[in-house]
Subunit: 279 residues, 2 copies
C-alpha cells in the first residue's frame, strides 16, 4: 500500500460456517481492519474459514509463515461442539490445549454472578462450560467484560496471536480493553489519514491518467477510484489515504493531493458532488 | 460442513485495499457465498488481499493448490493503475496477458455506445481503456451487460477461475448471466435448505449438549448457535442447515431436526421467540 511506512503487518482470520454460506455479513472484519489501520498498522490479508479444525489450523499456520506482527482471529471460542478455534490455534503452533486455572476462574466467576443475577441456586460448571477454559499451552486468557468465553493471547517467535470471540460486541469490548494499547505501541504512533471526493459527469477511464498524475506528484498518497454509477452517468468516489509519522504530516499530504485532484476534476469538466474529510 | 454430500468446493478471493482498511464492507463475499451455497456447492474459504500483484497472484496460486472446482475473484478489472487482478491471475497460472480481440471489441462497442448516448463525437480508446482487454492467455472474456470491463473465465486443470468486477451490480449481473448455469451444473442439483429458531431465557452453554443430541439424531443437519444477548438475558438463534440430493429431502431433514430442537428448548424452560423457515 502506498504511504505505508512500516513493514509491520497484521492478518485477520475469521472463523465460522455462517460466513461461508452467506448467513452473516462479515462486519467484524470491517470493524477490525478500520481500527487496526487507524492504529498505524497495515492489514495485509483477511482469511475466512469454516468451523473445521484442519481449515482453522491451516489458515493460522499459513498466516504465521508470512510473519505478520499480529494475527487476530474471530469466532469459535464458545461452549458448543463446533467452537474449535483454540484447538486449531494449538494445532497450528504444535502445542497442546489444557484447562487454564486463570481462564477457569474467569468462567467460574461469570457463572457465579449469573446465578446471583438470575436468582438461581447455582449454575453447574458442565464440561461444555469448562471447555472455554481449555486454551493452548503458553497462552494467556484475556478477560471478556461483556461475555463468558475469555479471549486468548499467545506469542510465537515475534508474532502475537489474539483469538477473539465472534459475537461483535464481545470482540469489540476485548479489542478496546486489551488490544488497543498493544497494537498502538506496535504502530509506533504512525498516523493514518483519509479523505474522499466524489465527482459526477466524468468517466473512471477518463480519470485514470489524472489519478496517475496526482499520485506521481504525491508519492505518499494512495488514491483509489470507486465507480458508483454507469460509465455514461458516472459518479466516482476518489478515496485518498496515507500513513505518516504523525497526523499533521498525514493530513497535509492527503489535503494537498485532494486539492490537486479536485482542480483536475473540474478542469476535465467534472462536477464535485461531495467531499469527505476530517478536520 | 455437516450435510455436505459433495467434496466439490469453491474458493472466493476478494481484491481491494478498501477491504483491508475498513472503508468497504465486503457485501460481495456474502452475496456470492449465499448464491454458491444455494446452487449446491460449498464455499470453503474466502481470502481478501490488497491491490498488490504479488499478494493477488499468491492468493490465487494457493487457492488453486487446494483444488477447488471454482475460484471466484472480485475486483481489480478496471482501467486504473491498481486494477491488476488479471495480471495476478496470469502470474498465478504462469501465463502471459495479452490484448484479446473479443474483449477489445466488447470494450470498443461499449465506448461507441457511450459516445452515442452522451452525444459525444467519439470516445478514444486510450491505453487505460485498452488495458481492460489485456487478459491471461487461454482465458475467455465474459460480457458485462451493465459495465465496461469484461469478466474473465479460464480453465486450469479441473479448476475454473472466474474473475469478476468489484462493483456489486456488475458482479451480480455477470454472475446471474453467465455463472449460475455453470455452477448449477457442477452442483448436480444438490439442494441446500436452512431454517432457524430463536430462543429466550436459556443460556448457550445450557443448550450446547442439547444441540449435540439433536445433531446425533439428525446426522445430516448442521446446527449452529448464534448468541444474541448476554448469558444472563440470552437470546440464541439456532441456525439449521443441510444439503441433500433434492429439496424435498433437505427440507424434511431440517424440519425434523427443527421440531426436535423446538421441543427440547421448551422442555428446558426456554421460550421460542422466532422461527424462520421457507415453505
Amino acid at each position: 500500500m502506498v504511504g505505508v511506512i512500516t513493514n509491520q503487518f497484521v492478518e485477520i482470520i475469521c472463523v465460522g460456517n455462517e460466513l461461508l454460506i452467506g448467513k452473516t455479513l462479515n462486519t467484524n472484519a470491517q470493524w477490525l481492519t478500520k481500527r487496526v489501520t487507524t492504529l498505524g498498522l497495515n492489514v495485509k490479508r483477511i482469511t475466512v474459514v469454516g468451523d473445521n479444525l484442519l481449515d482453522i489450523s491451516t489458515a493460522i499456520k499459513e498466516a504465521i509463515q508470512r510473519k505478520p506482527c499480529f494475527v487476530l482471529t474471530t469466532g469459535g471460542l464458545g461452549p458448543t461442539f463446533d467452537d474449535m478455534t483454540l484447538e486449531g490455534l494449538a494445532k497450528a503452533l504444535d502445542v497442546q490445549t489444557k484447562i487454564d486455572d486463570k481462564a477457569l476462574k474467569m468462567i467460574a466467576d461469570k457463572y457465579y454472578s449469573y446465578a446471583q443475577e438470575t436468582k438461581m441456586d447455582k449454575i453447574e460448571l458442565t464440561s461444555y462450560r469448562i471447555k472455554m477454559a481449555k486454551i493452548p499451552e503458553g497462552s494467556k486468557p484475556l478477560p471478556n467484560a461483556v461475555g463468558t468465553a475469555p479471549a486468548v493471547m499467545i506469542k510465537h517467535e515475534n508474532i502475537t496471536v489474539f483469538a477473539l470471540p465472534g459475537v461483535p460486541f464481545e470482540m469489540k469490548s476485548i479489542f478496546d480493553e486489551t488490544l488497543v494499547s498493544i497494537l498502538k505501541k506496535a504502530g509506533h504512533g504512525i498516523a493514518f489519514f483519509e479523505a474522499s471526493v466524489t465527482s459526477a459527469n466524468i468517466m473512471e477511464s477518463e480519470m485514470a491518467p489524472v489519478v496517475d498524475d496526482v499520485m506521481k506528484n504525491n508519492p505518499n498518497v494512495y488514491i483509489k477510484s470507486h465507480p458508483k454509477g454507469a460509465e455514461t452517468n458516472p459518479f466516482i468516489e476518489f478515496h485518498l489515504s496515507t500513513t505518516a509519522k504523525d497526523t499533521t504530516t498525514a493530513k497535509k499530504c492527503v489535503n494537498k493531493a485532494l486539492a490537486q485532484l479536485t482542480e483536475l476534476i473540474k478542469a476535465k469538466g467534472g462536477t464535485i458532488t461531495d467531499t469527505k474529510r476530517e478536520d
